[in-house]
């Protein structure tokens, strides 16, 4: 941290009016669906109704004047929608692999008519066998393994061996604004796309490949984006290619595709369902070894599965010091919608498993989970699961203490245990208490979230660049590819630059990114934007301050440099520092279960989160509260599944429920601050951590309310709860 940083760090956290506040508050901010209609053509996608089939023929209906079709035969470049690998197609080519797989697009002046024509398109299929569950999977896209110590010996020497399986379901991002793009292929040969997205340069690379156009001929702009949460990380690369190719056929007219809610919910990426088998060896009251086998349901294409899976398995042993590890992770290929990024990125699935596993072991040993966990926490200097180091303070003990006090955990835990005892006794005596309708429980969970990309992605792949432009008149503009999807990145980045330059924050210009104007500072993902790009900008601002020339136009650019303390990460062996630092979380959930109906109600939720220095207190708090509520939804009401025909029927807000304002009125978040010296003013990664550990805390509470039953999957539905009660 430089001098300037320490000089200003104390007030960097003070909240300001967000850069985009006025236009969003006043309703003038334009989202992709808001651009005026004149001249606009609308695209409707023809999708497969089958999970796996060969396409024998595509018979388009007779098209009215002004309508045209787009399909694989129209792809000018490669028929590939590039994500991490190249297996996703722009349009199906002879075979479809999931319900919703895109075969073609019908484009024309009237949206409804385009949809009607898409529905009227007669595709002749030969049905092929489909794999719909991970259990039936024949093929795994990825199979990673890593480990440490001597697992076999540890199991041989164990006092106790435990084995359990855990499952998690889909989670849908359910951002309020569905996905969409507008593309226009102008006469000058430049193809411009703008829409709802997180990563303009991802879209650009994909569109270049599919269209065969060069870098100068493809321009991607982010519109105001109504939420992303990971859902607009990779998927826009696929939709972008489809709309781009349609625009190339549209003779200069703009083509828009905006999904309706059902199309968005059913056919865009969502969180990987998971199935994890955990075996634990325990000796002298401590976990000495973990043997973990994680399977994620990747759906039909790889999209982001490799990276989601990597993060998931690296987190699989949790926040505990376990000397012997054997971890395996696989991404199963199924004939379902490809799964992808969602806040937490693989870690919520495995933290769910390890936290409940620890809970169950503790109870079996007759210990309070709190004590059992607290005694085994990792500390600064310890090895990480991949043999890197926890280089900085691990603040969990203090955070834990904070949430215990805030939630009055220990007293409530004891009281609810007593209630359960009375119930158990009274069940024979049919006492009033035994039949009390509502049962209460309280539970906790601890977790981390690795900040930034897993492994050496920043150094080897992203190589981020951030620029500050100063006009001759002295106006300063921030030029980065970060997209503000609600998390406030425009505000926080502008604050950093303002702070270093000693300029009023209001005077710093920062717009939604446009690849024609901003350098590639990397995607807006992985809780990296503020920590990595924020620091690049801080350094650029320091330089600009030092090199400031009155009356001259200046550009200052900074490049990513890997911190020197890192143990280099090797993906082949999963060894080294997977992350430079971590965000930390501790949460307590208290709930009440209605024994007549099985419905669960959250009485309170308390979380302590450490994301380093908050660059804006209110923004960070808002991120934390929003993430925590998503985590509670994931544990409980957010239920989505494919049926026996491979279709997802929970495709509307009435069938896929997310929390409303009345569901969790008592939600309290406090911030703990451990400064990260390589982040701007001590900031680490904030975006994802709040969601990660809520499901196991929720289930731990439910287990107490349900008299210590062992639960093993989310979402916990009223129906399952009632089964437990009846049994």
């Amino acid at each position: 941290m430089g001098q300037a940083a320490s000089r200003t760090a104390s007030h960097i956290s003070q909240s300001v009016v967000k850069k985009d506040h006025a236009e969003k508050m006043g309703g003038t901010a334009l989202y992709v669906g808001d651009y005026p209609q004149q001249d606009m053509l609308h695209g409707a996608l023809v999708r497969s109704p089958h999970p796996h089939a060969r396409i024998q023929d595509i018979r388009y209906p007779e098209l009215p004047a002004g309508y045209f079709t787009v399909d694989a035969s129209d792809v000018p470049g490669e028929n590939i929608a590039h994500v991490v690998l190249d297996d996703s197609l722009v349009f199906a080519d002879g075979e479809v692999f999931f319900v919703g797989d895109v075969i073609a697009m019908i484009v024309g002046p009237d949206r409804r008519e385009a949809y009607r024509l898409a529905r009227a398109t007669d595709v002749v299929y030969e049905l092929l066998p489909a794999v719909l569950t991970v259990a039936d999977a024949q093929e795994f896209f990825f199979d990673y393994r890593y480990g440490s110590g001597d697992v076999q010996a540890a199991f041989a020497e164990a006092d106790h061996v435990y084995e359990e399986e855990f499952e998690t379901g889909y989670q849908e991002q359910a951002y309020l604004e569905p996905q969409g793009f507008i593309a226009c292929f102008a006469q000058d040969g430049v193809l411009t796309l703008h829409g709802s997205l997180q990563c303009p340069y991802y879209v650009k690379a994909a569109v270049m490949k599919a269209t065969g156009l060069g870098s100068k001929a493809v321009r991607i702009q982010q519109d105001h984006t109504g939420g992303g949460f990971g859902g607009k990380e990779a998927f826009p690369s696929i939709l972008g290619c489809q709309v781009a190719i349609a625009a190339m056929k549209a003779a200069g007219r703009p083509v828009r595709v905006v999904f309706d809610r059902r199309e968005d919910m059913e056919f865009t990426s969502k969180r990987h369902p998971s199935k994890s088998r955990y075996r634990a060896a325990v000796r002298d009251g401590r976990v000495t070894a973990l043997d973990i086998d994680v399977q994620f349901d990747s759906g039909a294409f790889t999209t982001l599965s490799p990276v989601v899976l990597q993060r998931g398995i690296i987190a699989a042993p949790g926040v505990y010091r376990v000397p012997n590890l054997a971890v395996r992770g696989r991404g199963a290929r199924t004939n379902k919608v490809p799964t992808g990024a969602f806040r937490g990125f693989g870690a919520p699935q495995t933290f769910f498993a390890i936290e409940l596993m620890m809970e169950h072991i503790a109870r079996d040993l007759g210990l309070e989970p709190l004590d059992f966990k607290r005694a085994q926490l990792v500390e600064r200097g310890d090895a990480t699961t991949t043999g890197g180091r926890y280089h900085f303070d691990v603040p969990l003990p203090q955070m834990l203490a904070d949430v215990l006090v805030a939630s009055d955990y220990e007293r409530k835990r004891a009281r609810y245990a007593e209630e359960a005892r009375v119930r158990a006794k009274g069940a024979c005596e049919r006492s009033e208490e035994a039949r009390a309708r509502f049962r209460r429980g309280i539970g906790l969970a601890l977790w981390f979230h690795g900040a930034g990309f897993t492994g050496s992605g920043e150094r080897d792949i992203i190589k981020g660049r951030a620029r500050i432009h100063k006009s001759a008149a002295g106006q300063v503009e921030v030029l980065v590819s970060q997209s503000d999807i609600g998390q406030g990145i425009k505000t926080t980045l502008a604050k950093i630059v303002a702070c270093e330059l000693g300029l009023p924050y209001e005077e710093i210009i920062i717009s939604n990114p446009d690849t024609a104007r901003v350098p590639d500072s990397g995607p807006t993902v992985a809780s990296r934007s503020l920590m990595i790009v924020g620091e690049l900008l801080r350094r650029a601002a320091v330089r600009l301050r030092e090199e400031w020339r009155e009356g001259q136009e200046q550009d200052v650019e900074e490049h990513f440099v890997e911190p020197d303390f890192l143990v280099p990460f090797d993906l082949e062996t999963f060894s080294g520092d997977a992350y430079p630092t971590y965000a930390w979380g501790a949460a307590v959930v208290e709930l009440q279960i209605d024994s007549l109906t099985g419905t669960n109600e959250v009485l309170g939720c308390w979380a302590s989160l450490d994301v380093g220095t908050p660059i804006d207190q209110a923004i960070v708090l808002g991120q934390m509260e929003g993430g925590v509520l998503q985590g509670l939804g994931y544990a409980s009401m957010e239920q989505m599944a494919a049926d026996a025909s491979g279709r997802i029927r929970n495709n509307s807000y009435s069938d896929y429920l997310i929390p409303s304002a009345v569901d969790v009125p008592e939600l309290k978040v406090q911030m703990h601050v451990t400064k990260y010296p390589n982040g701007p003013y001590g900031a680490a990664g904030a975006g994802e951590v709040p969601l990660v550990g809520l499901p196991p805390a929720y289930l731990a509470a439910a287990e107490q309310a349900l008299d210590g039953v062992r639960l093993s999957h989310i979402p916990l539905t009223a129906e399952e709860t009632l089964k437990v009660i009846v049994r």
């Binding site: 508050m25 309020l176 923004i619 409303s660 009345v662 009846v726």
Partner: protein, 496 residues
């Protein structure tokens, strides 16, 4: 069939010609360019499209364009200059309550609707007021805090400037008030569309019952009350080919609420919001209605629509079943009184003839006044939840104790032991129609308390055999289990 609609949009008169069954949302966004009205679901489930209709919060995706004829519509754009908006703006900024911003226009309208009526709301009231406005970003805390802070600031300003009309303004209410007062057509049309010229160009919006009945007799019409069912189905137009919508919200006879002895006559066209504002309605009905959806849906949806749409999940319908309501159907040929049990023929099917209107619901209230009742709704969350199972029960005894003191435990001797004079139970969301079987409940009627207690198992066993739930969002077994649990809890509690 196109009709002409003239309405006030943010204080300016708009005349538009088109399909009266189109969503107001599409009219505002696509035809009039009011893109501050957001679209998140098109079926009433997110609140992003909220607007004020004659000052009342509604989801514009559930309002038919024809319905707004002669009404005042207020979008966020119509509030920007008000004092209330200024206070909200400041408070939302201070709390960074605007994240992606997509829910915000709807949130602000929900806040506006709240603050107009409840200038100093509690946190719980704020949460209820925005419970139909989903926000996926914030977790709601910042929004709730901001609304509260804005309310406090406005109250402070009002106190400081009491008497001066410019403050704390009812500026926003004035906008709406002026709009309603100005009614139709006195300002130049701002929309470049054909003025009302073609014959029969106005939407069908009768104000009196006879007129409505004549229309129904003459044409193939679909009555549209709140439209919250009719407009919620994206791929099923509210009025099928060859038919038209008949807007019934202006018919005075459908808006009446009056007593006749101990029977409450409830106008079918009363919205849930209007009913909740009336102190006279029985608590069981109030509880049922308060459990429905969220404010915007309650402000539009009507009790008549809840009965006529013949869904077994209707919450108001369940309250009507358990109280043994009678429905008054009227046509040009006369009227008939149909007991609620005889009204239904199956899911979505009733005995109503196409030329009949449901005009009133006659709710006997003797038992709701004398007895104990329960209304239980099992949904997936605390607002915006369709019943997965619902149960209502009503029981009364003849006891010497004051009939109002229904919670007093009847610890009498054999001589004074109370007798069950009435028992009614009803189960919702388990079959094609709400299940109400008076003959089963009759098993316990006339029984003295202790005798009734011994017969509970038999009563429950009969229900167990009678209930054959269908599978839906939850399994049939779950539904059955919950029904029996709730019935048992109700009867045991009532008879203890």
């Amino acid at each position: 069939m196109k009709t002409t609609v003239t309405f006030l949009l943010n204080g300016e008169t708009v005349t538009w010609r088109g399909d009266p069954g189109m969503k107001l949302l599409d009219l505002l966004r696509d035809e009039l360019g009011m893109t501050e009205v957001k679209c998140g679901c098109r079926e009433g489930e997110c609140g992003a499209c909220s607007v004020l209709l004659d000052g009342v919060l509604v989801n514009s995706c559930l309002v038919a364009a024809g319905r707004v004829d002669a009404c005042a519509v207020t979008t966020l754009a119509g509030l920007r200059t008000t004092a209330r908006f200024a206070a909200l703006d400041k408070a939302f900024a201070r709390h960074s309550a605007v994240q992606c911003g997509y829910c915000i226009p709807g949130m602000i309208l929900a806040a506006e609707a709240l603050l107009v009526r409840t200038p100093q709301p509690s946190e719980a009231e704020i949460r209820v007021a925005i419970s139909g406005n989903l926000c996926r970003c914030t977790g709601y805390n910042a929004i709730v805090a901001a609304i509260r802070e804005a309310a406090e600031e406005l109250a402070g300003a009002a106190a400081a400037g009491a008497g001066a009309d410019a403050v704390a303004g009812d500026a926003a209410r004035d906008v709406v008030g002026a709009a309603v007062g100005a009614a139709v057509g006195d300002v130049a049309s701002v929309a470049p569309v054909a003025p009302a010229a073609a014959p029969g160009a106005a939407a069908l919006c009768p104000t009196a019952l006879p007129e409505a009945l004549e229309l129904l007799a003459a044409k193939n019409l679909v009555p549209c009350a709140g439209g919250t069912d009719l407009l919620a189905h994206e791929y099923a137009p509210p009025a099928p080919e060859g038919s038209e919508l008949l807007f019934v919200h202006r018919i005075g006879e459908l808006k009446a609420l009056r007593w006749e002895g101990d029977v409450l006559r409830i106008g079918a066209g009363l919205t849930y919001g209007e009913l909740l504002d009336r102190s006279q309605i029985p608590e069981i009905l109030r509880t049922a209605i308060a459990s429905i959806a969220a404010p915007a849906v309650r402000n539009a949806g009507t009790i008549g629509g809840n009965l006529a749409n013949a869904s077994p999940k209707g919450d108001a319908a369940l309250a009507c079943f358990v109280t043994d309501c009678t429905l008054r159907l009227v046509s040009v040929h006369g009227e008939r009184l149909v007991p609620i049990g005889a009204f239904y023929q199956g899911r979505g099917r009733t005995v109503r003839r196409p030329d009949e209107l449901l005009v009133e619901i006659l709710m006997p209230t003797r038992w709701t006044q004398e007895g104990r009742w329960t209304f239980e709704k099992v949904g997936g969350r605390k607002a915006l939840a369709i019943s997965r199972v619902s149960f209502a029960g009503l029981v009364a005894f003849d006891i010497d104790a004051s009939p109002h003191d229904t919670d007093a435990s009847p610890h009498g001797t054999a001589n004074t032991e109370p007798t069950i004079t009435h028992l009614a139970t009803a189960f919702g969301a388990v079959a094609d129609v709400v299940v109400r079987r008076p003959e089963i409940d009759a098993m316990l009627i006339g029984c003295a308390l202790t005798e009734a207690q011994t017969r509970i198992p038999e009563w429950l066993a009969t229900w167990e055999a009678a209930l054959q739930p269908v599978r839906g969002r939850v399994s049939a077994e779950y539904r059955k289990q919950v029904c029996l649990n709730l019935a048992r809890a109700f009867i045991e509690r009532s008879l203890s």
